[in-house]
């Protein structure tokens, strides 16, 4: 069914045809025709953010919590450049976004017109793909192709730059279903011979481990189900990256906790000593591997990933399987069943005995206090008081993020939104807004730090405007905690510019934004205060005053291997000695 309409109307119609119900954006001169088209319909709801970076993170939160493509709409020039951090964040964490940017009319492009910037040039490096629409005839195809590219293969952000004259131009729009790109068609099914080989290797393994990542989440809820099934069939231990939390339930018997720089002792030692590593939708990031030449030296490695460039990028693997995690896991489960594979029970029993010894080390333990709220304790109490609810967690970036990953436990995928790859402070509040838009009845909590939250605090107005009851749980230690921790460990405790000087009064700040403010500094009052936050029917800023110089452990120091972790009682009274654990080469690393 073809219809004559303007470019702006095509944009809104295409959004509707793609099933987009929510767009995060901010108007400006170069997108006024689209805003006018939005005004004249009520299928697509527009959420007015207060800064374009917020729009991008909100769209990420929406996408991550629903599995759908997140959409943002911003104007030319500063509108587009403000969105860059969010686009880069989505690129590194493989989040599907479509970002519609206004552009000056085509006859002005290249003339340094008002609010002109080379959006496709600037975003070429921080998007999966981008388009400058040069004629109205191309517009319908590009709009639908953008959604296809964003969600296919390894998902990512796609920019469509829309000159203002194209928005006004008249053209023919026809509803397009199942649009594909003419050449970009990622492979979903894994090679069966390789999958067969993988199953053989798994049946022969004596010390196996599943190392799962965000790819399992991106492959959809079925992938998590299949992973659970495969773990159950094999009884192998399973660990996950920051991005993959929730794919396997934290309450599951085979769960080792998160691995990597701030991962558990058992997860990292299991990775180091295993004889077979099955990497599923994970990418051997430097936060995961630690020192590369000492990374799991004795293991064979199977790597399942939809992106061929992830294979052998950082770590050489023995058996790469290119494909969508859900498809490959499905084939693995089927093969394992049909061939009635058996694991080496004796060897696996011994392996679990060893793992349980590592577990007994209780590496996430900390010295609690009755005088001051320990940040780990605060997250634990938050978890206990919210775990039986329909809860989504977002975070900012820093110590609080790691404590949240360690002490908040996820049973399902898509419940955990965090900036993993780019490490974007200021992600959590707008992401929470995006999640809450998608799940209006759910409890959405941004676990924050007092420094990060100030990076996008303006989005409190967005929460207020749309009556979004997001809860901001600030672990306030008056430091950029992770910076301070590294300064303590690496720079002789010289806390250069990491003290959060001149903080606002967060309770008054909440009130200024029309939200509810709570402050708690007494461990005995913590549960009551958290309950008050949960029960309050609107947005809350919770200023949780915590121990100031608590370090986030365990930790693999820079340049060290998985089996060289720092654990709490080693470092307890002797923070300064840690400085000598990290050598000169380690200091060079980030």
């Amino acid at each position: 069914m073809s219809k004559q309409m303007t470019g702006a109307e095509m944009v809104v119609t295409a959004l509707k045809d793609q099933g987009v119900d929510t767009v995060f954006g901010y108007p400006g001169g170069a997108v006024l025709p689209i805003y006018d088209a939005l005004f004249q319909q009520d299928f697509v709801q527009h959420v007015l953010v207060r800064h374009e970076q917020g729009a991008a993170h909100a769209a990420e939160g929406y996408a991550r919590s629903t599995g759908k493509v997140g959409v943002l709409l911003v104007t030319s020039g500063p509108g587009a450049t403000n969105a860059i951090t969010g686009l880069t964040d989505a690129l590194l964490d493989s989040i599907p976004l479509v970002c519609l940017t206004g552009q000056v009319p085509t006859h002005l492009i290249g003339s340094d017109a008002f609010q002109e910037c080379d959006t496709v040039g600037i975003t070429r490096h921080c998007t999966k793909h981008n388009y400058l629409v040069r004629s109205i005839e191309d517009l319908p195809r590009i709009l639908h192709e953008a959604f296809y590219v964003a969600r296919s293969g390894r998902p990512g952000p796609v920019v469509v730059d829309l000159p203002k004259d194209i928005q006004f131009a008249l053209g023919t729009y026809s509803a397009q279903k199942n649009v594909q790109h003419k050449t970009y068609q990622p492979k979903l099914k894994g090679d069966m011979d390789k999958i067969r080989q993988a199953v053989e290797m798994m049946a022969a393994a004596k010390k196996p481990v599943f190392y799962t990542g965000g790819g399992v989440i991106n492959a959809g809820p079925m992938a998590s189900e299949l992973l659970r099934e495969l773990v159950k069939l094999t009884n192998f231990p399973v660990t996950s990256t920051l991005m993959g939390l929730g794919a396997y339930p934290a309450s599951g018997e085979n769960w080792l906790g998160m691995l990597g720089m701030h991962g558990t002792y058992e997860a990292n030692h299991t990775m180091h000593d295993c004889d077979l590593m099955i990497a599923v939708g994970s990418r051997f990031d430097d936060r995961i591997t630690g020192r590369l030449d000492a990374f799991s030296p004795g293991s064979k490695k199977i790597h399942i990933d939809i992106d061929p460039s992830s294979i052998n990028k950082n770590v050489k693997v023995d058996l790469p399987i290119i494909g969508d995690c859900a498809h490959v896991l499905e084939d693995m489960v089927r093969l394992w069943r049909s061939e009635a594979k058996q694991v080496d029970q004796t060897a696996l029993g011994e392996w679990w005995e060893q793992i349980n010894e590592w577990r007994a080390r209780n590496s996430l333990g900390f010295h609690n206090s009755k005088a001051v709220i320990k940040p780990q304790h605060a997250v634990q109490r938050l978890y206990e008081l919210t775990k039986n609810r329909d809860t989504y967690i977002t975070t900012e970036v820093g110590q609080h993020q790691m404590w949240a990953a360690q002490h908040y436990h996820f049973e399902e995928p898509n419940r955990w939104m965090t900036s993993g790859g780019l490490g974007t402070m200021g992600y959590g509040l707008p992401a929470a807004i995006g999640v809450q838009m998608a799940h209006p009845e759910s409890l959405v909590i941004d676990i924050a730090g007092e420094a990060s939250i100030l990076m996008n605090i303006q989005e409190m107005s967005t929460a207020k405007q749309y009556r979004l009851p997001v809860k901001i749980f600030i672990l306030n230690n008056e430091y950029m905690g992770m910076v301070r921790q590294w300064q303590e460990l690496l720079h002789g405790g010289r806390y250069s510019n990491s003290y959060s000087e001149a903080l606002p009064d967060f309770v008054k700040l909440a009130e200024a934004y029309g939200a509810h403010g709570i402050r708690c500094s007494d461990p005995a009052d913590l549960d009551r205060a958290i309950q008050e936050m949960i029960d309050y029917p609107g947005a809350v800023i919770f200023d949780c005053v915590v121990a100031k110089e608590e370090n986030c452990f365990p930790m693999i120091p820079s340049g060290k291997a998985h089996n060289e972790m720092i654990l709490l009682d080693l470092s307890d009274d002797a923070g300064l000695e840690i400085g000598s654990i990290i050598d000169e080469k380690g200091k060079m690393l980030v």
């Binding site: 040039g121 793909h129 981008n130 400058l132 992106d307 052998n312 990028k313 950082n314 080469k585």
Partner: protein, 182 residues
């Protein structure tokens, strides 16, 4: 082994000893920005470009072929191929060096200025290399020479003492031998 394994080709400690020269043949949609995507990938990730040629090879489909000569460790070159494949308008990446038996040709135009014995010698060497004279004045020639890059290098070195003024080269175009498309 070094405690810090160099992953990035940018790293000065990345061993240059195992560097190989590879020729990649990349088929792309001839759309605006596609060359910038390819070049941006190389600069952004610290890969080398020794030469790069690009031209449309199928006018109806609007496909272009980009031929890139690059150097790097075998692992880096594997990464380059995969990273190129991630670019949406790229159809196909073929490492012609891995395929083996590829033919490489380059075209050069070489301006030589001289009189007397040098001028005669330049012309004689040009004939020996099967270079064509495409412009002449009383005191100069411009040679057109097609061949493998090494042949052009050799000819240029011979012209240097005879009055080489300047040269321009197209960079390598390459194709796999045999009846099949690569």
């Amino acid at each position: 082994m070094n405690a810090i394994v160099a992953l990035s080709p940018y790293s000065s400690s990345a061993g240059k000893t195992n560097h190989e020269r590879h020729t990649l043949s990349v088929l792309v949609d001839n759309e605006p920005g596609v060359l910038a995507r390819v070049v941006g990938l190389f600069s952004g990730r610290g890969y080398n470009i020794e030469s790069l040629t690009v031209a449309e090879v199928a006018h109806v489909e609007r496909w272009s072929r980009i031929t890139i000569v690059t150097t790097g460790s075998p692992a880096a070159i594997e990464q380059i191929s995969h990273q190129l494949e991630r670019i949406v308008p790229i159809h196909k990446v073929v490492d012609l060096t891995l395929e083996g038996r590829a033919i490489e040709r380059e075209l050069a135009m070489i301006k030589v200025r001289g009189k007397g014995e040098n001028r005669v010698e330049a012309l004689r060497l040009g004939e020996a290399f099967k270079a064509k004279v495409i412009d002449a004045t009383l005191e100069s020639f411009i040679f057109e020479l097609t061949g493998a890059p090494q042949k052009i290098d050799d000819f240029v070195e011979l012209m240097r003492p005879l009055g080489l003024v300047e040269l321009t080269r197209t960079g390598v175009a390459a194709i796999a031998r045999g009846p099949e498309a690569s």
